[in-house]
Symmetry: C2
Subunit: 317 residues, 2 copies
């Protein structure tokens, strides 16, 4: 099978590419390298079953050409950093909504009808339904990021209805692991590497977050593709626990043996549109037999330094 991966040079995309190639699949990788990193594809580029297209998803004709011969698309390319929506509000719309429309059109032009989409737990906005199931009450969007991802879900669903597509839509909590390059864990490490004596924390540190290890995330997507055969298959992906940002500060500091003075910017949210509590109900994906290998609130502490040091070390080299 030939599998297209958009955002192939990103954190999740490149991890997926490596796994697909290991399984013997042929992979068409698409990335514009705006945030993707060529070094994440170091191994893939040595594999003849991997073809890389340096294409921007906003360029529909190049995108359409790159999809030729594909059987299934993992659409992972996105503006994935939720924090800066209000600084450039058109970016989420372009990168997450219009780009998704282009992916769908490129698929249609190539006769590809199966799509996997990385959505987000942010689409639930601020909800009273905790843990949040896939059929939670109709949410109100709080971030441009969540709104743009929900718009992508809507387009994909409408293509399933209108053009006979089949889709697997995953609403992620934060994903952590090797090649992870943004988010508060990465940010804390970066700050402490620069100065072990102080740490600036957005919000009051009491935001509760849930995390999933990248390999568990890829396992879940694989299980869903194998076992869920509805026209539109929507799954939350996460673990059965959560932690406070303050907890993770403790773990990171212990791992780095740092004792910084912690300064909070204040307020119950890290940034405008931040959701102070994301904790997803994952019964639906677990009913297919998937279980995360890292079942705790966070991946084990002894895993963290390696995982987070990896991209960090590279950016300072």
């Amino acid at each position: 099978m030939t599998i297209v991966v958009t955002g192939c040079a990103g954190f999740i995309g490149s991890s997926l590419v490596d796994r697909l190639l290991a399984f013997g699949e042929t992979v068409i990788g698409v990335d514009n390298f705006s945030t993707g990193q060529r070094r994440f594809l170091e191994s893939a580029l040595k594999n003849v079953a991997f073809r890389l297209f340096e294409v921007d998803l906003l360029d529909l004709s190049s995108l359409t050409a790159s999809f030729a011969g594909g059987d299934l698309v993992f659409h992972l390319a996105a503006n994935a950093d939720v924090r800066f929506g209000t600084q450039r509000p058109g970016k989420d719309l372009e990168q997450n909504t219009i780009a998704t429309y282009h992916v769908l059109e490129a698929m249609r032009a190539n006769g590809i009808r199966r799509i996997v989409f990385s959505s987000t737990g942010s689409v639930y906005g601020v909800t009273d339904a905790i843990p949040t199931p896939e059929d939670a009450p109709f949410p109100v969007q709080t971030s441009l990021y969540g709104a743009s991802k929900l718009a992508g879900e809507g387009l994909i669903s409408a293509y399933c209805e209108g053009f006979g597509f089949q889709s697997w839509i995953f609403r992620f909590v934060s994903i952590l692991g090797e090649r992870y390059t943004h988010g508060h864990v990465f940010d804390f490490y970066k700050q402490l590497k620069a100065d072990r004596s102080q740490l600036r924390v957005l919000g009051d540190g009491k935001q509760r977050k849930s995390y999933l290890y990248i390999q568990d995330c890829l396992d879940a997507m694989q299980v869903a593709l194998e076992k869920a055969a509805e026209k539109i298959n929507i799954f939350n992906l996460g673990v059965e626990g959560y932690c406070e940002v303050n907890d993770s500060i403790g773990w990171i500091c212990r791992a780095l043996q740092a004792e910084p003075r912690v300064e909070y910017t204040g307020g119950d949210r890290g940034w405008i549109g931040d959701n102070p509590f994301i904790f997803l109900d994952t019964k639906r994906i677990r009913s297919l037999g998937w279980t995360p290998k890292f079942r705790g609130v966070l991946p084990p502490v002894d895993w963290w330094p390696t995982a987070v040091r990896w991209p960090f070390a590279s950016t300072t080299s």
Copy 2:
């Protein structure tokens, strides 16, 4: 107060403009006349309190210029004909999602922070929650139209969170009345005017629909604006009943004294993505004291011929 109305030459927009001018408001009307009709503004254009801008919402700089001096925006411009999504899938995205983003940006540039938005009951997709309340289970989109309107809602909500906007979002059933220019009622009249002996009906005629009279719709929006003061105010608008398409065929035929041979295209949906049953729970808007003047399943039969003949007569003259 100076009120901006996008889609001011449309069915709902022009009816709103006439009402606002009658109330003594100053109105900035924006329309690209792609489906809007200049004759709907005949009366408004004689009023010095009305300024018309022939502007396409995709042209952000002209749009921004046209909004100067506005205090509140009614964003009614849309690709409002739900049926043709799959024939040109980019149209709903452009006209309903990207255009809404432009409206929000034009507001931001002009310091306008209050927006009224015409969304649709189609955002609920095919739901088991009938009548459907505003907080129905998280829906799956079935039409590009619904998906594009939900994307518009998401953008507006995120601007409320991120930029201090305040919004009133209305999810309409079908609106009927003077100047109504599309939809099955209009289509049936048009067919019967051309040939009284036969009528072609999309689907099996058993699709259940709910309608609201245009003046009741405008009343509801006014009540909500006066009484609902949350950051984001979402209301279903509809009546407490519904009818089958077949019922309306009976009423229309009686009104026109026609006895056509009825031919059904078959299937439970009129077109791809059609929702065979839209019936909204309107407790929330009724709790503010609003009641539709036409409370029945449809506006009274004796009202129909006038209302529907009006635009029809004009298009054949």
